[in-house]
């Protein structure tokens, strides 16, 4: 089985979010970038398929040279090779178009992406990719097994989970549950050394237009101070929630 894991290069979850150039660009100054958490769960599941079922695992990112350390980290975790499509990821559709070409050229059977990236939260790339490839698609995927060309997956639904059967070629939008937090791997020295020898192919983008464009960013309005209620006066809280906030 040939697996492609889509890796989004995103600011660490603790990053301060600021903008520059008249609030049109994300300010990367002092920001630490990491593998998108949803993608990391997927990558770790892919390592399981590699170790238990002999799958090959490649990782891909659509982005500029600045994303390469993140791809190297995925190689250090254990992916066999990496691909970077050399273009700015200006919208979900453009990214999906680039990925579709990579999947077709590489003959991948299974594409593991994250249900959303934590920067733009579009939640569109995996589904659009499946649509473009006419492949099966499972979103919010929290477990995945593959036997031959048949797959069993479960997805989180509002209020529970759903188990589905499907077949390759398959695209999933993954999240925590695919593996547990404790299964995530921190690259060790050997992995980091080996990653330097592994191929990271840079390929040029196919022609595609963004369907949306970002005009500018805004930060939420600063909020008022918290109203403190004395622990011995819980009645007061009930009153405030009823009369002032009108939520009970």
């Amino acid at each position: 089985m040939k697996i492609l894991v889509c890796i989004s290069h995103v600011p660490d979850t603790t990053s301060k979010i600021n903008f520059t150039e008249g609030d049109t660009k994300f300010d990367t100054n002092g920001v630490q970038f990491v593998i998108n958490p949803n993608d990391e769960f997927g990558l770790t599941r892919a390592m399981w398929f590699k170790e238990k079922q002999g799958a090959s695992v490649h990782v891909v990112n659509v982005g500029g040279p600045e994303t390469e350390p993140t791809l190297r980290k995925a190689l250090a975790i254990g992916a066999d090779g990496a691909i970077r499509v050399n273009t700015a990821a200006t919208d979900g559709f453009l990214v999906a178009k680039q990925l579709a070409k990579v999947v077709q050229d590489g003959g991948y059977d299974l594409v593991i992406a994250g249900r959303e990236s934590i920067d733009y939260n579009g939640g569109m790339v995996p589904g659009m990719l499946a649509g473009l490839l006419n492949a099966n698609f499972v979103n919010n995927c929290i477990s995945l097994e593959v036997e031959g060309t048949n797959a069993t997956a479960s997805r989180e639904i509002d209020g529970g989970k759903e188990t589905v059967s499907t077949s390759l070629p398959l695209v999933i939008g993954g999240q925590k549950g695919l593996v547990e937090e404790s299964d995530l791997r921190i690259p060790n020295m050997r992995g980091i050394m080996m990653a330097r020898q592994k191929p990271l192919n840079v390929i040029e983008p196919v022609d595609a237009n963004s369907e949306t464009s970002s005009v500018k960013f805004e930060k939420p309005a600063p909020r008022g101070a918290v109203k403190l209620v004395d622990a011995d006066n819980v009645d007061e809280l009930v009153n405030l929630l009823h009369i002032e906030a009108k939520v009970i």
Binding site: T13, T14, I17, G92, F93, Y120, N121, G122, G123, M124, V125, G127, M128, A130, G131, L132, N136, F137, N139, N140, T152, R155, E156, D158, G159, G160, K161, E162, T163, V164, T166, S167, K176, G177, E180, E181, S182, S210, E211, T212, S213, V215, K216, F217, E218, P220, R223, G224, V226, K227, L228, V229, A231, V234, L237, V238, L241, H242, V247, I248
Partner: protein, 319 residues
């Protein structure tokens, strides 16, 4: 030309988010000088949609569409959009809508904006405000394609009334082959889900152990709320993963969010920030949650929560 909106129902009844997206579609239609058409799957009485701005309902009733399937639902919605020559299609941010929307975008060659929180600031160019960086910022986005797809955030635009009446007609689409088959559904029945809840009561590591969740459940019961938890609580196995909220868990956009024994780490807050009113109960006055909350009690959850339950019971009894 009418604006098409996908109004979700469960067991034939419309969800609150369905009325919210209908209200949103009405706002867009007014801006564009057109009408609203809703599409429903196996829904019962659709007249309620008229109260929220829908002019016409396309009713799909088909056994093959009994259970949700992203691909076939997307395909049927695309057929309806083509029939209506719709230039704008609106869906919600439920798990199902988020699943089908990117497929629908490809079917319609539509540019897609998700997590949209306001009516368009302009319809030409078509510009919407959406959340980005997990609620830490907003992004103004224009959709440049001829057909536009918008997924509206939950509890952001709100349900609006408008007195019209909706005509209903049957819509018989062709049903595509599906490649993903549902084998089983595991859903707690009779419990309010985090996605649908108006109020969410959430517990953190400050509650010390799973044996102490009785009071959390009781508080939720009194309020008709859903229960949730912080990430370490689900990682430790005190509560099921399905209750984990935050940046890497479920998003919460309720009217009221009550955090008990939760410190308010940035990743937790990011996921629950879209809630309207936030209450924190924590022993540590320096806990970051106090900076994000509207109301707070500095105190021991084991003393405060039982009192709160008692007071709320008395309050409810009076109502």
């Amino acid at each position: 030309m009418s604006v098409l909106v996908y109004t979700e129902s469960e067991q034939g009844k419309f969800k609150k988010t369905a009325l919210e997206v209908a209200s949103y579609a009405k706002a867009v239609a007014d801006q564009m000088g057109t009408t609203v058409t809703a599409i429903t799957f196996n829904a019962g009485d659709t007249s309620v949609l008229g109260n929220h701005g829908v002019d016409k309902v396309l009713k799909v009733g088909n056994e093959q569409l009994e259970s949700f399937n992203a691909k076939s639902y997307a395909n049927v919605i695309a057929q309806a959009a083509n029939n209506e020559a719709s230039k704008v299609v609106i869906v919600s941010s439920s798990a199902d809508s988020k699943y089908l929307a990117p497929l629908l975008a490809i079917d319609l060659n539509a540019g897609f904006a998700s997590n949209v929180v306001e009516a368009p600031s302009s319809t030409s160019p078509f510009t919407v405000k959406r959340t980005a960086f997990t609620n830490k910022a907003f992004n103004l986005t224009t959709i440049n394609t001829d057909v536009k797809l918008v997924a509206v955030s939950k509890n952001a635009f709100g349900v609006k009334e408008s007195s019209a009446s909706a005509t209903a007609e049957d819509f018989s689409p062709s049903i595509p082959e599906i490649g993903v088959k549902v084998e089983s559904v595991d859903k707690v029945s009779g419990k309010i889900t985090i996605a649908d809840a108006e109020i969410v009561v959430s517990g953190g590591r400050g509650l010390k152990g799973p044996e102490n969740w009785g009071m959390i459940e009781e508080l939720a019961d009194v309020l008709g709320a859903a229960t949730a938890c912080s990430k370490p609580v689900s990682d430790l196995g005190w509560r099921p993963h399905s209750e984990h909220v935050g940046q890497t868990g479920k998003p919460v956009a309720s009217n009221l969010y009550i955090a008990i024994g939760i410190s308010g780490a940035i990743q937790h807050l990011a996921g629950i920030n879209a809630s309207k009113v936030k209450v924190v109960i924590n022993t540590d006055p320096e806990a970051p949650f106090f900076k994000a909350a509207d109301y707070g009690i500095v105190g021991d959850a084991f003393e405060v929560v039982p009192k709160l339950i008692e007071k709320l019971k008395a309050f409810k009894a009076q109502q």
